[in-house]
């Protein structure tokens, strides 16, 4: 029953992209002492709400975090995959029954509700979109399954990259059993949910908490949808422009072969025959590169697309849209 599965390992691609960085700056030992004081306080405050989720049907053990006094738990979709019921175990060993609600596999987020009556310890929910490389964070989870000999280990680190779409990458090292556990900002608010790891110690991926907000009601209502896909280019929720790309040019530019009607590209005035040469000032190095640069954004983000139209360079602002929603629109 204590078999740890969880934390899948991602097929992950590396690319150079542009943007600006800011971070939790350290100028002196006093700054480090202040960070320590925050981390210690945070640990005491949030620890009681970090639960293990054990599914005997599926034979897996993951983690979750309680955010509702009524026992609402946020976790990763793959932790509750195939389960209808889970055992919820609190750090002190207190146990409760949990009912699996909904999940969106495309974002690897899910919900569980404790069915027993109780006054459950909770944590606050923060925001993930504003997080950038250098922001300090703390990850927790029941590594390798629930262990009564210890509390769920605390890992201190920082955001190293705001990952594809809704995901973030930190250097808080994770392992099997941590999946579904919370990532906190230094105020102790949940900003992410542990999702996957790659080979590097700096490659620990978390689903951003803002992804829950968009899907809250559907998950609460018990809906399960989406597709777990770690290749950002295959994620159905990835943001797109709505163009059919032609063969890339030798200088890396990507010609627009067709523009999808009603798509963000169409609305912004991108035309067939235009050549995409840059996004937000970053030169494009081919079609795949363009896809990866866009994947780092979320739907709703506005990007500046630089195009060559004949001899003229044109810059257009485009609001990105989710690929699956664009397709849905087309089918209608």
């Amino acid at each position: 029953m204590k078999k740890s599965r969880i934390l899948h390992v991602g097929a992950i691609l590396l690319l150079g992209l542009t943007g600006t960085g800011r971070g939790g700056e350290i100028r002196s030992l006093e700054d480090v002492l202040a960070l320590q004081a925050k981390t210690e306080e945070l640990g005491r405050k949030v620890l009681p709400a970090v639960v293990a989720l054990i599914s005997e049907e599926v034979g897996s053990s993951g983690s979750g975090v309680v955010v509702g006094k009524d026992g609402l738990i946020l976790t990763a979709a793959h932790v509750i995959d195939g389960a209808e019921e889970v055992e919820v175990v609190f750090p002190g060993g207190k146990q409760a029954k949990g009912k699996v609600l909904g999940a969106n596999f495309s974002k690897d987020i899910g919900m569980v509700r404790i069915v027993d009556e109780g006054d459950w310890p909770v944590v606050e929910i923060g925001e993930s979109k504003p997080l950038q490389a250098g922001d300090w964070v703390v990850a927790m989870g029941h590594s390798e399954g629930y262990d009564p000999a210890r509390t769920p280990p605390l890992r201190f680190g920082r955001v190293v990259s705001d990952g594809p779409g809704n995901f973030l990458t930190t250097d808080c090292t994770l392992i099997g059993g941590d999946s579904g556990g919370p990532l906190f900002d230094l105020e102790g608010r949940v900003v992410g949910i542990n999702s996957s790891i790659g080979e590097s110690l700096d490659n620990n991926n978390h689903a951003g908490i803002d992804g829950f907000r968009e899907d809250w009601d559907r998950m609460l209502a018990g809906e399960i949808w989406g597709e777990l896909q770690l290749n950002p280019l295959a994620n159905p929720e990835r943001p797109v422009l709505g163009i059919l790309m032609g063969r890339e040019l030798s200088n890396g530019g990507v010609p627009v072969e067709r523009v999808t009607p009603d798509s963000p590209a169409a609305k912004a005035g991108i035309r067939p025959g235009d050549v995409v040469v840059a996004v937000d000032g970053t030169r494009i190095r081919g079609g795949r590169n363009l896809g990866m640069i866009l994947a780092k954004h979320s739907a709703g983000d506005e990007v500046e697309v630089s195009l060559l139209r004949g001899r003229e360079e044109v810059k257009l602002r485009v609001e990105l849209m989710r690929q699956d929603q664009l397709f849905e629109k087309l089918e209608r």
């Binding site: 740890s4 599965r5 934390l7 390992v9 991602g10 097929a11 992950i12 691609l13 992209l17 542009t18 943007g19 971070g23 700056e25 350290i26 100028r27 030992l29 480090v32 002492l33 320590q36 981390t39 210690e40 306080e41 945070l42 640990g43 005491r44 620890l47 005997e56 175990v89 002190g92 060993g93 207190k94 146990q95 950038q132 490389a133 703390v138 590594s143 629930y146 009564p148 210890r150 280990p153 605390l154 890992r155 201190f156 920082r158 190293v160 990259s161 250097d171 090292t173 392992i175 099997g176 790891i197 790659g198 080979e199 590097s200 110690l201 490659n203 991926n205 777990l228 994947a295 780092k296």
Partner: protein, 395 residues
């Protein structure tokens, strides 16, 4: 898991998905700023930190104690050394070391330095590090090795130090209480006359509502202590006193997938478990960085790093345990772990060379013995090859 483990090798060398150069720069500058800020703190212990060399390579860190000519280091990292062990300080002062004792349970070796002196460390035992507190692994030079936080407060890791009741609970039982399914005859429950079907209601007056809760309560007890258990048998409530024993060693074979996850992005220590008491930190030590002093932000030495079990953890033996250990007589290195060998679980290392006591076996569980054997074979192959290559040079 969606993607097979096999695909990992293809990802080697790739660092962070979609990391922009700017993001990489921000985090690198941040690390530099953090290390600049903590460097003065680590200086409190760096003169007492040495590299430990064996077989022409650094294999561990060492912590200088006593009058400055004794060093504690990680025993399993030098137990199979074929050349005399040497210690090197931050100023490159080099001394030849002799293993004079072994604290086997803690995987620590006591070295005596024959021809050099260093500054001894002073252990701080007045405060126990708490959850989230920052820790720094000092290095022999000016640069600290690693920094991290207390991930889990001090706890025993050795199973025989954990109390064992000896009941298997019925997972189907809905309560109230927890129902015993079978009794393990190695525990106190059997001795006290508990039987399958008994429903445990409370331990020492505290109601028990789940298996995990029972384990949590037992976690706070130690072998040799007694607990009062209230239980229900055939409708009648009874209370009995149960003397707790130590937990028999369970050989838990980790799931293969978990095992391969452990070493993702990190090398792991040969001996990484079974310590009587440890602090768990998230600092990312390598196996060769274990054995040195760890300080808090006040520069107080709170312990000695002892193992890297996986990508998420490093273990530290707290100063209080070290101070207590040093009161004890260490094992003669020639005798260390002989009982294990008699059980056929140890490994006999290659013969030692002149000037070094022949290193005996290290205490290991079965899985690691196999790994150690493999490691040894590789090491002796390597040495043979090196010796062959050296021959023409010497002639």
């Amino acid at each position: 898991m969606l993607v097979a483990m096999g695909s990992i090798s293809a990802l080697m060398g790739q660092q962070v998905p979609l990391q922009k150069p700017e993001e990489k720069q921000v985090t690198r500058q941040q690390s530099e700023a953090l290390f600049d800020a903590i460097r003065p703190v680590a200086r409190a212990a760096s003169p007492s930190t040495v590299w430990v060399w064996a077989d022409r390579k650094p294999v561990a860190m060492g912590t200088v104690i006593g009058d400055g000519n004794q060093v504690l280091t990680k025993w399993s990292q030098i137990a199979f050394a074929r050349t005399p062990v040497q210690v090197v300080g931050g100023d490159r002062t080099t001394g030849t070391a002799r293993v004079v004792g072994v604290y086997q349970d803690d995987d620590l070796a006591l070295l005596e330095i024959v021809d050099a002196d260093f500054d001894p460390v002073s252990f701080s035992t007045e405060v126990k590090p708490t959850l989230g507190q920052f820790l720094i692994a000092a290095g022999p030079g000016d640069q600290p090795l690693k920094a991290g936080v207390v991930a889990v407060a001090e706890r025993p890791l050795r199973e025989s130090d954990q109390a064992f009741l000896g009941v298997m609970l019925d997972p189907e039982f809905e309560g109230p209480g927890v129902r015993v399914q079978t009794i393990d005859d190695r525990g106190g429950a059997d001795e006290a006359g508990l039987q399958g079907g008994d429903v445990l209601l409370a331990v020492d007056g505290q109601a028990v509502t789940s298996a995990f809760e029972l384990r949590g309560i037992l976690q706070k007890t130690r072998p040799g202590e007694s607990i009062r258990v209230k239980y229900l048998r055939e409708g009648a409530e009874t209370e009995t006193e149960i003397l707790l024993g130590g937990r028999p060693e369970f050989q838990r074979v980790p799931e293969a997938r978990l095992r391969s996850m452990r070493s993702m992005g990190t090398d792991v220590s040969l001996v990484a478990g079974g310590f009587p008491v440890i602090l768990q930190s998230d600092m990312q030590l390598t196996p060769e960085q274990c054995g040195g002093p760890v300080v808090d932000l006040q520069g107080r030495v709170i312990g000695i790093s002892i193992a890297r079990p996986d990508r998420t953890r490093s273990f530290i033996i707290p100063s209080s345990r070290i101070v207590a250990l040093l009161e004890e007589e260490p094992l003669d290195p020639g005798l260390a772990a002989l009982p294990r060998e008699a059980e056929g679980r140890g490994v006999r290392p290659a013969a030692g060379q002149q000037g070094m006591p022949i290193p005996p076996v290290v205490p290991l569980n079965r899985g690691s013995a196999e790994r150690l054997r493999k490691h040894l074979e590789e090491m002796s192959d390597l040495l043979e090859r090196m010796e062959r290559e050296m021959e023409p040079l010497e002639r």
